[in-house]
């Protein structure tokens, strides 16, 4: 492999450059560029259905872009061969929207899974690591439960424990707050921030929950209309006068960002009624 882990804190961990991606005839991204700094929580926000999950899958190398490139720690994700890609993926992990816990294993085995596959550590040590991770998300007591016995929020916390089991450098969170009640949302917000600080993780949070994200993010990118429409610290974004951004952050139903895709006429009709 052509790269060495560089601990140059000034260099971004993930660089996305002029990314273009489309699914069939439906263009999702045109010319998206991002840079994700090390050890920070970077949020990617945008309305539903603009393919924020797709962006994470592009970073993880599960999808291949039509144009542009993605570099993680200086390595072009889409020019790696399988071995290099897998080596890279061992340094990152992803928290899926549904949690994606393995349904045929209990919580303990779920968290232990990647450790058993990759670490080669003896079982007693794995057990300790797993219990530590579960303790960190407050689910040590649920270690022997099956995923189906957990609530949605607990599933996501268990998945979070699994995502940090191998102590990755980069954690990608796909809609971690979607569909959570206020208490579990608060727990998750606190967990993401705390874990990020404690383990010096680089976190990428994809979400459309504006207030939660602005609360924990160090830096925010806002995607709309197939491109980045704004970026900056949460404080900067709150003060920005870009109308699209104001609409999004303020959660106003009417504005320049088309929330409904792609039926323009229908949308105008709907907005017209609300006026």
């Amino acid at each position: 492999m052509s790269h060495k882990p560089m601990n140059d804190a000034s260099k971004p961990l993930v660089e996305v450059n002029n990314l273009g991606f489309s699914r069939g005839k439906h263009v999702i991204y045109e010319d998206v560029s991002l840079s994700i700094p090390r050890g920070k929580v970077t949020a990617i926000m945008g309305p539903s259905g603009i393919g924020k999950t797709t962006l994470l899958k592009l970073i993880g190398g599960q999808l291949v872009p039509d144009a542009g490139w993605v570099k993680v720690d200086g390595v072009n994700v889409h020019q790696c061969n399988r071995t290099e890609l897998y080596a890279l993926r061992k340094r990152m992990s992803m928290l899926f929207q549904s949690g994606a816990l393995f349904t045929d294993m209990n919580v303990f085995d779920n968290v232990a899974f990647a450790l058993r596959e990759h670490s080669g550590l003896p079982e007693p040590i794995i057990k300790r690591i797993v219990l530590m991770k579960l303790e960190a998300v407050g689910l040590r007591g649920a270690a022997q439960m099956m995923p189906s016995e957990l609530s949605g929020g607990m599933q996501r916390r268990a998945a979070l424990a699994r995502a940090i089991a191998l102590e990755p450098e980069l954690v990608l969170y796909d809609e971690p707050f979607a569909g959570q009640d206020p208490i579990s949302m608060g727990v998750l917000v606190k967990l993401i921030r705390d874990l990020s600080d404690a383990l010096n993780l680089t976190s990428v949070v994809v979400s459309h929950d504006v207030q939660e994200v602005l609360g924990i993010a160090d830096y925010v990118y806002v995607l709309a209309d197939k491109r980045v429409i704004a970026h900056g610290t949460p404080a900067e974004l709150r003060l920005a006068d870009n109308p699209k951004l104001k609409q999004f952050i303020g959660g106003e139903p009417d504005g320049p960002v088309p929330f409904h895709f792609p039926a323009q006429d229908y949308q105008k009709e709907m907005l017209g009624e609300r006026d």
């Binding site: 992990s93 549904s98 994606a100 393995f102 349904t103 596959e117 990759h118």
Partner: protein, 261 residues
């Protein structure tokens, strides 16, 4: 216009078919081409043998017993008209070994294990468990697909053998215990007409071929499912329909090759 349209639609479906075959081939190749990791693979294989093999045993044994009994009863009623009810043994044994054993087992297997495989893998895909494995740098083809494939290929021939053996026993129950054919002549005529190479080896060849096809279709349908509930239910149905048709068509082909000369 309409002519070019219909030609284009033929072309389109041909391309789709070839693409599907190619994808299915790539999936299987990716799953079984690499050298398996014995230490990690064996527990996975055993678990799948349990799910695919052991859990299909009851339906296979019960169906085998009843099919053997029905075959014997019907056969007896016909043969007794010619006064050749002694030939009941070979009739039951050869029907089971050459056709019903491999074919009915494969059809039952497609319904019991094949559909379950498709649904399970489809669900894994739609709940992003497969993506999650990918992101953990674990190849889902090796972790999920390969053990299930091998478990299917091992289980189905064993199930077909059990089906056939218990079916012959069912024929014995009806023919000897109920209809009063002499037990000795039942077995001796049966033994005289069943041949190791011609019948038992061919039975095994058939069931191995069916096992590969049924398991492959089930895995492919699950792996390339449209990840929503409707997609999963459709894929499950497709698994049963396609693998049943494939089994019956292949059975004719294999029979023609084995017994057709």
């Amino acid at each position: 216009m309409s002519v070019t349209d219909s030609i284009a639609s033929i072309g389109r479906s041909a391309i789709a078919t070839v693409t599907g075959l190619g994808r299915a081939g790539l999936m299987l190749w990716g799953a079984i081409a690499k050298v398996p990791n014995v230490a990690k693979g064996t527990p996975l294989l055993i678990k799948q043998l349990y799910v695919i093999g052991v859990q299909s045993m009851v339906i296979i044994l019960v169906s085998g017993l009843f099919i053997g009994m029905v075959l014997a009863l019907q056969g007896y009623n016909i043969l007794v008209g010619f006064g050749t009810e002694d030939s009941l043994g070979p009739m039951v044994a050869l029907s089971l070994l050459r056709e019903l054993g491999p074919v009915v087992t494969a059809l039952l297997f497609a319904g019991r294990a094949g559909s379950a495989l498709t649904a399970e893998i489809g669900l894994m895909k739609s709940t992003e468990q497969l993506s999650s494995l990918e992101m953990m740098a674990i190849d889902p083809l090796r972790q999920i697909i390969a053990p299930r494939f091998w478990a299917g290929v091992i289980s189905l021939p064993l199930l077909a053998l059990m089906f056939t053996a218990i079916g012959i026993y069912g024929g014995h129950i009806v023919g000897v215990e109920w209809k009063g054919i002499d037990s000795g002549s039942f077995w001796s005529i049966l033994q005289a007409s069943v041949e190791w190479r011609q019948d038992i080896v061919n039975c095994l060849i058939k069931s191995v071929v069916f096992a590969i096809v049924v398991t492959w279709i089930a895995l492919y349908r699950g792996y390339h499912v449209i990840p929503n509930p409707e997609g999963i239910s459709r894929a499950t149905t497709q698994t049963v329909v396609q693998s049943s048709l494939a089994v019956l068509a292949l059975d004719f082909l294999l029979t023609a090759m084995m017994f057709g000369r």
